[in-house]
């Protein structure tokens, strides 16, 4: 039977497999799958791996995740408290940088893989690699240096420092988060993650003005990514729009895969990415909670019709909310398998 990796590799090489590869991002749903609370679930890498494997097998999509929740990165930099919910993703509660003075004290661990907060993630990745390695792409989530400060100090304080604060302090923090990023991406590469989602809403002109993107964001993105190279790297702006950024990112960074935004025009996105690179068309998964079967099917059909015009196309989701009924997940996936058939 054809595997997710074979489908992905076919798309990477501009060849046709049986259908368009489908990336479905289920995180919190893993706790439901195993019948445990979210808080218990996220304490254990073996549970996360087990649920990722089970959900992939049951639904038949093409990827699995080593990500628990985004706040994990803050834990690696010293965050001590995470707020768990019963019906949604965990969130950073304790900010490591409470005042600007804390930036100097911020320590980036030399070896992040030795950090206790990494242990369960490493365990999860190891199990995924053993069970699915080479057959299903394993995704890792890595927040870019310009976005990481949000997890350390909140977006409000970071916006202030970024635009109005002392430049030395801003640069000091960015150097530290960029160092962290380089270590993190190297760690995930060495542990065998296949896809490295570079998550950086500050690489979207929805979040920052265009001139700032060229003058500042680009500089830090280069610093983050150039040492390790672009292999496996996917450009993603947290679902914020990115079409406007694509030409510069191609030219200056040379990233080969783009996780588009549902707020952008898909056909335009494909054109900007071009036939030589991989585009992922991303469904707006929040209305999936309430959409009827017909609405879901017609949206997937619309996207596939546009996407299949490109030789290198994937279908993907955002951070699928736990509120989406299982039935609707199934409807979306069945439609994607059907309309994505070659």
């Amino acid at each position: 039977m054809i595997t997710g990796m074979e489908r992905l590799l076919a798309a990477v090489n501009g060849k046709k497999s049986d259908r368009v590869p489908v990336f479905c991002n289920l995180f919190d749903q893993g706790a439901l799958e195993l019948g445990v609370s979210l808080e218990e679930y996220y304490q254990r890498g073996d549970l996360v791996a087990e649920a990722q494997i089970k959900m992939r097998a049951r639904y038949g999509y093409d990827n699995v995740w080593s990500l628990f929740y985004v706040g994990k990165e803050a834990e690696l930099m010293g965050c001590k408290e995470i707020l768990f919910a019963k019906d949604g993703p965990p969130n950073v509660k304790d900010f490591v940088v409470k005042e600007f003075g804390d930036i100097e004290k911020l320590v980036i661990p030399d070896d992040i893989t030795a950090h206790p907060a990494f242990e369960e993630q490493a365990k999860c990745l190891k199990i995924l690699k053993q069970e699915l390695g080479g057959r299903y792409p394993i995704c890792a989530y890595l927040t870019g240096s310009m976005t990481l400060p949000v997890l350390l100090m909140g977006m409000e304080k970071w916006m202030e420092l970024l635009f109005w604060g002392p430049p030395e302090l801003k640069n000091l923090l960015l150097e530290k988060t960029s160092d962290f990023f380089r270590k993190e991406i190297a760690a995930f590469r060495s542990l065998g993650a296949d896809i490295l989602l570079y998550s950086n809403p500050y690489g979207s002109m929805d979040v920052i003005p265009e001139n700032f993107f060229h003058q500042e964001s680009m500089v830090w993105m280069k610093r983050d990514l150039e040492p390790g190279g672009m292999a496996g790297v996917v450009y993603y702006c947290g679902m914020a729009r990115l079409n406007g950024a694509i030409p510069s990112v191609i030219k200056e960074l040379g990233i080969g895969t783009y996780y588009l935004s549902p707020f952008d025009d898909l056909a335009q996105g494909l054109e900007l990415v071009g036939p030589q690179r991989l585009s992922c068309g991303v469904i707006n998964d929040i209305p999936l909670i309430d959409w009827s079967k017909e609405e879901i099917r017609s949206e997937v059909k619309r996207m596939m019709e546009i996407g299949r015009r490109s030789p290198r196309f994937l279908f993907g989701t955002g951070v699928m909310p736990l509120y989406i009924p299982q039935e609707n997940i199934l409807t979306m996936l069945e439609a994607a398998y059907e309309y994505g058939r070659f």
Partner: protein
């Protein structure tokens, strides 16, 4: 108090709007300071420069100006900081357009959206009480009643805090139980509402807004008694 403006104020208004548009805080403050030095009153500055500039920003954003989040943030900050400065110089306590209580939904710790909305409302002469983060439905309604607020504004960044049992839905329930629905309107906003423009109806809010600057328009309309 002059509202249509002396010849001097027209130039000040234009210069202030340009500074806000360019998110240049120093220039915005310099324009205001210069006007004060020229003898233009704080009252006239607020009503003839700050508020019309915010109205113009609202119009620009609703028409075609594609402002980034950083621009919304900086506009809101500049306008509200200038308003704070000017209010401290008012000769009499100013009349407010109305009162609003705002907070992030229960379980939600994301404050930036709320801060932007507060900034815009303040510069439109709305009295805003910030209830902070992770606010329970009871607190929203108790505080709104205690302060005579015409609008409860709730910000939520995630689906579960937007739709959850302790969010806007519970606030609506309390408003109904206490029989104050005609006096207190419920306005919501934040990422999930932008991804699903119909979501405000699911959580039984009266309205929502796509961004901070438009939030100013939606909320002030309610405060002025308009039915949307």
């Amino acid at each position: 108090m002059a509202t249509n403006g002396s010849p001097e104020i027209v130039g000040v208004t234009e210069a202030f709007y340009q500074a806000v548009f360019d998110t240049d805080r120093n220039r915005a403050f310099a324009v205001v300071q210069q006007a004060l030095d020229q003898g233009i009153s704080a009252e006239e500055l607020v009503f003839s420069a700050v508020i019309p500039s915010m109205d113009r920003m609202i119009k620009a954003v609703s028409e075609d100006f594609n402002a980034s989040l950083a621009q919304h943030f900086m506009t809101a900050q500049i306008a509200s900081q200038v308003t704070d400065l000017l209010l401290s110089k008012f000769s009499q306590k100013p009349a407010v357009l109305g009162r609003v209580v705002i907070g992030t939904a229960f379980g939600d710790l994301h404050t930036l959206g709320k801060r932007i909305v507060i900034g815009c409302l303040k510069s439109l002469m709305v009295e805003v009480t910030d209830l902070g983060v992770n606010v329970s439905p009871e607190k929203f309604v108790d505080e709104a009643q205690a302060r005579g607020a015409g609008v409860i504004a709730i910000s939520a960044m995630m689906v579960h805090t937007a739709r959850g049992e302790q969010g806007a839905l519970a606030v609506r329930e309390l408003l109904a139980q206490r029989g104050v629905e005609d006096r207190i309107k419920l306005v919501v906003g934040g990422a999930p509402f932008r991804f699903d423009p119909e979501l405000y109806k699911v959580v039984r809010a009266d309205a929502w807004a796509d961004d901070g600057i438009s939030a100013g328009r939606v909320i002030t309309r309610f405060l002025q008694g308009e039915v949307l």
